[in-house]
Each structure stands twice: as C-alpha cells, then as structure tokens.
C-alpha cells in the first residue's frame, strides 16, 4: 500500500478526455517520476492531487485518507507540499519572512489570528526558519527581498519552504523548467540530498530525462491520459512502448 493511491481517476474537459483511467501507487520514501509527452495529462493529474481540480471519477487516497473535495490548503495540511513550475514565493517579503510563513503554518495551522505577538520574538519559529535557511545555504540572503533573487535561488527557497512544513509527500512540477544547466544540476543535487537525508516521498513531474534518470527510483509513463507503463528507470529506458510514445520523439533529451 503506497502513501499515495490514485484509483481509476478520470477527468474530462468538454470534449477532451484529459485523464482516462489513471491508477498510480507511490510507495513511501521513494522518488517517483511521472513522465509523458505534452498533453499526456501530467499537469491535470497534479492538479487533482493538490485539490485544484476535482476528477469526474475515481479516488485519490493519501495515507489512507481521501483528498478529493478538499481545498488546496487542507490537502497541504495533510502533508502534501507542492513546488511549482515557475517558483511561487512571496516576492514582496524578505527571504526570512518567506521561510517564517510555512513554519507558522506548520505549527499553528490554517488560520491563527495571532495579531498581538511580535513574529520575531517567537524564538521557536524564528530559529526553525533560520535553521531551514541554513540547510538551504541561504542564510546570508535572509534579509534580501525574495523577488530580487536568481531563478535558481527562488527554486531553492521554494523547496526549502515546502520542506519547512515537513511534508510526507513533496510534489514537484517540472522543477528545472527554463533553468540553465548549472542551475538544473544544482537542483538535482539538492533533491538528491533531500532524498538521502529525509524521510520523504517525492513525486516529480518532469520533461528533462536527465533529471528523471538522475533521481527517480520508479517511473510512470503517462500517454493520452492513461498510464502506459510503470517500472524502474532501467526497465523504462529500454521499454519499446515508451520509446514509441515518448523517447522516440525526443532522444536528444535523454
């Protein structure tokens, strides 16, 4: 029984069957990649997992509880954190404040009207946030405005913010899209480090085969809204069906 169990999920937009009949099981403490050509339904699936879309059919269970019908913040509080394709951080706030917010969210929940304490005097939270910045190698930038950082650093901060919540499942949506090679490699190293050091399950949606094969322990190939095949990276590499559906058309990416 995986930590995330997707059963018979289907979603239709008007005449388009975005997801056919998706079954997926993500085992705890693994890195599971979901790949597939454009339009395969990867983003739709991700949006179903985080509560942005409600599927027409099927069920999605996280840790034995259904996530369907819950709001994104509720699903997050269950232990699923999401990293976006373009880093979503609080651009107007400082790096430290960016990190404080998930720390408060983790400790105090979805809404706490704590309007009369000074946030910087909440030592427990501030220390936790500083420690997270330390782990992300961003302690020097703590007072910088988050919007002024490089894209690679924004990604690093976003991942750090997700980790600060100690999620059980980290969802990454093409985390290296639009990144220069050096930034991509840094991100891969960061994710490897996270995988080695933490008890965390990572599900990653990715286009870049280099990223996928550097990280994934298990790969699901999605095509036209249905899973084509699921296996280990080595097996996937040589799988004829996969070649036909995906790798065949983008060999240079591998």
């Amino acid at each position: 029984m995986g930590i995330l169990e997707v059963k018979n999920v289907g979603k239709r937009f008007g005449g388009l069957q975005a997801l056919g009949d998706v079954n997926l099981s993500v085992a705890e403490n693994t890195v599971h990649a979901i790949i597939g050509p454009n339009g395969a339904g990867k983003s739709t699936l991700l949006n179903v997992l985080v509560g942005k879309l409600i599927p027409d059919t099927g069920s999605v269970m996280f840790d034995g509880k259904s996530v369907l019908g819950r709001k994104p913040y509720e699903i997050n509080q269950m232990g699923i954190s999401r990293v976006f394709q373009t880093p979503e951080i609080f651009g107007d706030l400082s790096v430290l404040e960016n990190m404080l917010i998930p720390c408060f969210a983790k400790r105090d929940g979805a809404f706490t009207p704590n309007a009369f304490i000074d946030m910087f005097r909440d030592r427990e939270i501030v220390e936790r946030a500083e420690q997270m910045l330390e782990e992300m190698n961003m302690a020097d930038a703590r007072n910088d405005n988050a919007a002024t950082m490089s894209r690679g650093n924004k990604r690093r901060l976003e991942i750090g913010m997700c980790l600060a919540q100690e999620p059980r499942l980290l969802l990454l949506d093409e985390p290296t899209a639009g990144m220069a090679r050096a930034d991509t490699n840094n991100t891969i190293d960061l994710l490897k480090q996270i995988k080695d050091e933490r008890d965390i399950t990572i599900a990653i949606i990715e286009h870049d085969m280099h990223v996928v094969f550097s990280l994934a322990e298990r790969i699901t190939v999605l095509a036209q809204g249905t899973p084509l095949v699921e296996d280990t990276p080595d097996k996937i590499k040589g799988h004829p069906k996969v070649r036909e559906a995906y790798l065949g058309e983008s060999q240079d990416a591998a």
Binding site: N76, F90, L100, I101, F104, T112, A115, M161
Partner: protein, 399 residues
C-alpha cells in the same frame, strides 16, 4: 517598550509627541499676523486630523497589507456614527459607551459585508464593496429614516430618554462628555500674541488615535500582519502552504471596519450630529486618497495622508483672491494679476482640483506615497555620507 522593538517604540513616541503637542505645533504663527491663516491649531480641525487618521490607519490594514481595494469603507464609518448617536440618545451623553458600541456595530456590519464581498477579489471586490456602501447610503436616506433621520440626520434632543443621565433642565442642551468633562470645553492659553487652544474632545480623539496606531504597529509586526502581506504578494503560495487566506482577509476587513466605526463614533462624540452623506461613496474615495497619498502599506503613511488632505482642505479652501493679491502685491501689477489668475483655480473652492492632480501625480510617479518620497530624499542624502548606511537587523515593513 510596550512589546515593540526600539525602532517602532521611537515611531510611536514620535507620533505621541506630535499629537499631544499638536496645539503648539499646528499654531506656529502669532494671531493677527499675515501667516495666521496657516495655523491649524483649532479644535475642530485638529479633531478631524486624528479622526481621519484613525480611519486611514484602519483602511490601510486592509488595503495596504492585503491589497484588497475597498470602495465602501465610509459605510462602516456611517454605521458607527449612527450607533454612537443612538447610544447618546438612549443611554448617556458620556462618549465611552457611544464609542464602544460604534466599534462593535461597525465590526458586525463589516463582518456581514466582508463575508459576502470577499468571495471575490480584484475589481469585483471593489465593486461589491461600493455597491454595499451605496445601498447603505440609499437606505439611510430613505427607508431607514426612522433610525437615521433621513436627510436631516440625527442630533441628541432634550426629550431623548438617556436612561443613565439625569433629566436636563428645560432649555439646556445635551452635550457629549467624558464623565462630566464636556468635549467642547477648551482651555486657552495665550503667550504674547500666540493663542493655544487645548480642547478636551481633541485629546480624547488623540488618545484614541494613539491606541489605534499602537494596535496597527502590533498588527504589522505580528505573524497575522505578515500573513496579510503574504496574501497580497502571492495568494497561490499562501494556499499551497496550508494557510486558509479567507479568514485572514475577513479578519483584516473586520478590523479595518472597526477602525472606521471608531472614527465614526468619535465624530459623533465631537460634534453630536450625523447625516447620511457621511456614507456617500466619495467619502469612501477620500480615505483611499489619504492612504495612497501617505503611502499604502506603511505605518505612518495613512496618518500623514489624512493630516495632509485635511490640512489642505481647510487651509486651501480659505485662501481667496484677496489673499492671493496680498501675497503677490510686491510684483508689478501685470505679473501680479497673471499669477493670481493662474493660481486661483487651484485654491479656494478649487482645492479638489489640486487634490485630484496631486493624487494622480502620486499614483503615477510615487506609488509608495509621501513615505516613499521621504525615503527617496533620505537616500539622496545618505549617498553623500555612505557611512550611516547600516543594515537593520531584520526586515520590517517600511515606516
């Protein structure tokens, strides 16, 4: 001090000093001198400074922090005023219950309006709040006349029940007071040719403003205030960080509604009258102007903006053609007349034109308002002596 760090304690003390010494600061020119028309140290103007300051501080907690632009906040001010008036009619002319009830009633009303309006954001939110305010205004003018007095508004009357107060003698008029101390009473102190007026009502309002300002500092520095800024910055990330943004925005809306109610209650405490025009949407627009002009999202900005607009409204609308001619009298006649003709449209009754122009210029060139302007000037000076540029230990919202 007061649970604030050094920087904010200093800011609070500065504002406290300014408000407490306002009768001196605003009256720098001797009576009867040519410059006396720039004096602003008389009670009703000073009261307006601090009352609109409160209104703007509260509005800023919503707009400055969350970015939700409400065009209907005057409704809460009006509701607060009516509530305070009814306390004075039914209970007592003491201002304390009136003000307390005005805050509570405005808070409840803003809870209702906010609960509905906050289902939408952006322009839709602005229009929803505007629609609610206009509805309140229209109702106050028509159907609710038994409660609001319609076009004539409400004043305390001799025959009102006022169950806590003793009966007034015939011919006496009910006066707002604080445990017997009348709001309208003033102590005048003349030094040489200067005349300083210390008005009870002003000091009551000033204390209320200092408390409001202090609360605003606390809110700005709290995790709650940070969450509000996070909503403005990136609501998507908010939701995916396990935070429910709706109760945060609703709380901000209600808090700002309560501030507006307090301002409305204080208005009644000062002049013991209320009319529906207080709720008209231009009044909502005015608090938007104040906040933007001073600097939305900053602590001191709304207070500055409110003071500046009320000062200009009062002083500029007093200047007339004769005064202009006096000013430019030292010039040759032709140039004098030309200058007077050029300046005249912008003063007196035309001061709204000046206000509109300044507001446009601020939105276009100085979106951070007067505070940003001040910071830019300060930076110019700092560049000359870079040694004074020491980074602050932590990042806080600009003053």
């Amino acid at each position: 001090m007061f649970g604030l760090d050094k920087k904010h304690t200093n800011l609070l003390l500065l504002v406290a000093a300014l408000t407490m010494l306002a009768p001196f600061i605003l009256n720098p020119f001797p009576e009867g001198s040519g410059m006396a028309q720039f004096n602003a140290g008389y009670p009703d103007l000073m009261q307006r400074f601090v009352i609109f300051g409160i209104f703007a501080i509260g509005f800023n907690i919503l707009f400055g922090l969350t970015g939700y632009l409400s065009f209907g906040h005057a409704a809460f001010l009006g509701v607060g005023s009516y509530a305070a008036m009814w306390m004075m009619k039914l209970l007592t002319m003491n201002v304390i219950p009136a003000i307390a009830v005005s805050i509570v009633v405005a808070g409840l009303f803003s809870l209702l309006v906010g609960w509905i309006s906050l289902r939408r954001s952006g322009i839709y939110f602005s229009i929803l709040t505007l629609a609610f305010a206009q509805m309140s205004y229209a109702l106050a003018y028509s159907v609710l006349t038994p409660i609001t007095g319609g076009e004539t508004g409400l004043q305390p009357k001799l025959q009102d029940p006022r169950i806590l107060d003793g009966a007034l003698e015939a011919g006496a008029s009910p006066r707002a007071n604080l445990f017997g101390l009348e709001m309208t009473s003033s102590f005048e102190w003349s030094v040489g040719s200067w005349l300083f007026t210390f008005n009870v009502g002003y000091y009551v309002a000033a204390v209320a403003m200092l408390l409001s300002f202090y609360m605003a500092i606390r809110i700005f520095n709290s995790p709650f205030g940070m969450m509000l800024r996070a909503i403005k910055s990136n609501q998507q990330r908010m939701n995916y960080t396990g935070l429910n943004s709706k109760p945060y925005t609703l709380a901000a809306f209600v808090v700002s509604g309560m501030y507006a109610g307090l301002a409305g209650g204080l208005m009644v405490a000062m002049d013991t009258q209320v009319g529906a025009e207080r709720m008209f949407w231009t009044a909502s627009g005015e608090v938007v102007l104040m906040t933007i002009l001073g600097g939305a999202g900053t602590l001191i900005g709304p207070v500055l903006g409110a003071g500046m607009i009320k000062y200009m409204e009062n002083i500029m609308s007093k200047i007339n053609e004769t005064i202009l001619h006096q000013w430019f009298a030292f010039l040759p006649d032709g140039i004098e007349n030309l200058l007077v003709a050029m300046v005249y449209p912008f003063i007196g009754k035309g001061w709204h034109l000046t206000l509109g122009l300044i507001f446009m210029l601020v939105v276009i060139f100085l979106p951070g308002g007067l505070v940003e302007g001040g910071q830019r000037i300060a930076r110019l000076f700092k560049r000359k002596k870079p040694s004074s540029d020491t980074p602050d230990g932590k990042t806080t919202p600009a003053e």
